[in-house]
Symmetry: C2
Subunit: 217 residues, 2 copies
DNA sequence: CGGGCCATTGACTTAGGTCAATCTGCGTGG
DNA sequence: CCACGCAGATTGACCTAAGTCAATGGCCCG
């Protein structure tokens, strides 16, 4: 059974978890901390192409390589399974295959939202979208249903530089936009690692997104 | 059997195939022509988030909605299956589920490459990457193995405006970059719908991509 | 107490966007 | 068969959002 083959691995903030092109020996799920997927151009410009929060999955049944780097953004603990036996499990259990497919489709949707952000949003819209996303995500993980956790401090899991790489900006622009949103009374930036959303509605207005807001599942 | 439930639909260039949020009644595969997936901000800025060429698949087992628009970029013919029976087939045939999963992962990889392009590449690199992608794709579909179909005219399946929406640029910038690449002797732009790659190596240099070039499968 | 490491802020540059004029075909109807 | 009109493409002049470069500030940790 799968339980028998799981193991835990920990990485310190900044450590590489997987390198692009390296043979993929395990699949994993994030237990705690934040990891990121990123791609690099030959001259060193980099772009994060995914953020892995707790419960997210790393790995691709049927692939032996990945073509991005996986890095620990904060200290991270993973729950790992050897790839071969895991694939066996996937083949034997249709239900698991279907679940993985859904995960892949969710990631695809997230990737496409991010494409819109990267291709068309202004710096201010990018920051607003990023904060809104963090607010939604952290709300899910805490008080489910309590829709107004506004005023609570949002923890930023990354440095300005990493945020810039996620949003396709420079760290200076990220910093300036934080300051601007603060000056406009939309957020508060006390500690460098936390932001308080003072006016969520206004923050959402600033995202540029079509307001009819997606699927009401 | 699946054969019994397939039907063909055709759309003229510019026609909507599916609207965002609309209930998804069929899945389909592209028989001929080119379709695109796109997302729009509230003020009308749009970003293409995918291009569907012949043999590409539209649809997501387990989802009843999509949150992008699907539009016919050129005249398009689709081969459609009703969604419910198709999903039944997927559940009954593990092999099909696995194949779909691979398609989803391929799309995810393509989406991530595009994120790097949108977030970090210059206009010139974007155009070079776009042309290189078209060259690779059209080579696959024609003379397999003949690696130097250089000199052959590449057909552009879209207008400058659509290319701009795909690359996160404006149509003017697309036009200027075509002119610049032409002035540099890398391509030739005779007809507005076709481009001849005169120096593929140089074109690839201009993409900005890490030259060790991905996975040698 | 001191030395990194982030972050912020300012001054200046620039790639790409915007606005506007012109050009090029191409299909249509007289 | 021609001329008209229109949709797309090109080109130029100018503007601006964001990048670059550089100085300064705060904070944590040894």
């Amino acid at each position: 059974m799968l339980e028998d083959m799981k193991s835990y691995r920990s990485y310190a903030a900044g450590d590489a978890i997987l390198w692009r092109g390296e043979p993929l020996v395990f699949v994993a799920s994030v237990v705690s901390g934040v990891a990121s997927l990123s791609k690099t151009l030959e001259d060193g410009r980099t772009q994060m192409v995914g953020l892995l929060l707790p419960s997210d999955f790393i790995g691709r049944p049927g692939r032996t390589q990945i073509d991005f780097d996986v890095t620990a953004t904060t200290d991270v603990t993973l729950c790992c399974f050897a790839r071969r036996p895991f694939e066996q499990l996937v083949e034997d259990t249709p239900h698991v295959a279907q679940r993985l497919m859904e995960l892949a489709l969710d990631e695809l949707d997230a990737a496409r939202d991010w494409m819109l952000l990267l291709g068309r949003k202004t710096a201010r819209e990018k920051i607003a979208t990023f904060l809104d996303m963090l607010a939604r995500r952290s709300q899910l993980n805490t008080a489910k249903g309590d829709s107004s956790a506004i005023g609570a401090a949002l923890h930023l899991p990354m440095t300005r530089d990493q945020i810039a790489n996620y949003l396709g900006l420079t760290l200076e622009t990220v910093s300036r936009q934080f300051s601007a949103l603060k000056a406009d009374g939309i957020i508060d930036v006390s500690d460098r690692r936390s932001v308080t959303v003072k006016d969520l509605a206004r923050l959402q207005d600033e995202t540029g997104d079509d307001s009819d807001g997606g699927i009401l599942s």
